[in-house]
Symmetry: C2
Subunit: 265 residues, 2 copies
């Protein structure tokens, strides 16, 4: 049976609410995911929450019940609470009725199996959590192996990134590495590194993309450092027919990812 | 010479700050755009601000100077102010050093010239201002004629939408219409209406896309109403190879838009 918490001053509520900050996530090794849909996606991917908070009206929802029971059977805790507290945990005025607290995953390059997919997404110095989450979601849609975060990127376990990923944070592998670590790892095995660049004349639909292709996209404002682009096997550009010369980073990644799917060899 | 404002209690500061709310934008017919880059893009598109706020350190910046002078010559006003006030106007901790206040544009379907481009983006019941702005930015990149907002969509003049558009709010035509108005207008001239759908077996790369193609994307959570899809000339889907069955709305639009560019006839 779930414990009931209705007081905002409850220590667990305070602790979970603090997970909206990166510092507390690092200390606890935990992160938040909102919504029954995402919590169900997590369960399907073999991830049970350590804590699962739900609104009273969800008490008898069969899927929620099943996941809450599994959570408790695995040593976790289910908590029935108010809409007000759910809003305070997620920082939203109209909170979801379910919120899960999960162990952060390992994000070691060494744990990746590059043969698992013909396409991998690689982001360098990514700043926007919405872009990061959207890349995970796109990665799931194209059947990518996962997302590799190079250099200092925004936290993939932030509430905004998890939200934008629509659950793909649980289904896509995630690795974090410096550029040196990444390029060392990449060159130790098969893989074509393709940079999305503004400094090339090669149209993105010209090449074929041998599997596994690693699709590298740079920082939202600055793009990729020139020396990173130079270290790639291929630099391609998307045509720009307008006044501006760039696309949103997650959008450019998705256009490329679908193209790699089409032109894979 | 620019007026100097350093007091947060200044009536103009209060008035401009209020433009972050839709209600005040509607009352005043004005909206905000941050950053010299976007303000310069606006000027290039023939739009001068009614007010232009800038930090003291920008006082002698040639581009800022030129736009501020043009603004004043056209009856507008340039205001030199503090980083603190710029932050309060934009709601950001690290505000841009330039902020423009612009007249909202006409958004009548009747004003669109459908022959101006082979591709138009159409969004229905869009909810996220970041998605809307990203669609405008993508529209600019693919050389779209503009973005048509069908039914009740988020405000294209919101600060978040303008920010995500990276200036494309000034270069893309924007129209707002009910579904009945839109479909009536569309069928009164040439145009192929293509729905991005989950309820079709036609892969997005199978058809050709006669110009002008109108690319219709639905609400982030619900997609398009079935009767809207039925009214389209073509329904296509993007392959989904993952656990989830959807992409971010702005991402899906962009993948489609680049495909229409490639497969246009």
């Amino acid at each position: 049976m779930p414990r009931e918490i209705t007081a905002y001053s409850n220590p667990l509520v305070k602790r979970v609410r603090a997970l909206r900050e990166k510092r507390h996530r690092r200390e606890e090794g935990l992160f938040l995911a909102e919504g029954l849909r995402i919590v169900a996606e997590a369960e399907e991917a073999g991830r049970l929450p350590r804590y699962i908070f739900h609104a009273r009206e969800m008490r008898d929802h069969p899927l929620l019940r099943r996941i809450a029971n599994a959570c408790e059977a695995a040593g976790g805790e289910a908590v029935e609470t108010t809409a007000d507290i759910l809003g305070k945990l997620s920082g939203k005025d109209n909170p979801q009725t379910v919120l899960g607290v999960y162990d952060e995953f390992e994000t070691d390059l060494a744990a990746l199996d590059r043969g698992a997919s013909g396409i991998w997404l690689v982001a360098q110095a990514l700043r926007d959590p919405g872009n990061l989450g959207t890349m995970l979601r796109t990665g799931d849609a194209v059947g990518a192996g996962g997302l590799i975060l190079v250099d200092e990127c925004v936290d993939p376990f932030s509430l905004e990134a998890v939200r934008a990923s629509m659950g793909a944070v649980f289904t896509q592998a995630i690795a974090r590495a410096s550029w040196a670590e990444f390029i060392g790892w990449l060159r130790a095995g098969p893989g074509t590194l393709v940079a999305l660049s503004l400094r090339t004349e090669i149209d993105y639909r010209e090449p074929t993309y041998p599997a596994p292709t690693f699709l590298l996209v740079g920082n939202e404002a600055r793009g990729l450092p020139a020396e990173y682009e130079d270290a790639c096997d291929l630099r391609v550009k998307l045509p720009m027919r307008g006044k501006a010369d760039s696309l949103n980073a997650a959008v450019a990644t998705a256009v490329m990812a679908y193209t790699v799917l089409s032109l894979a060899v």
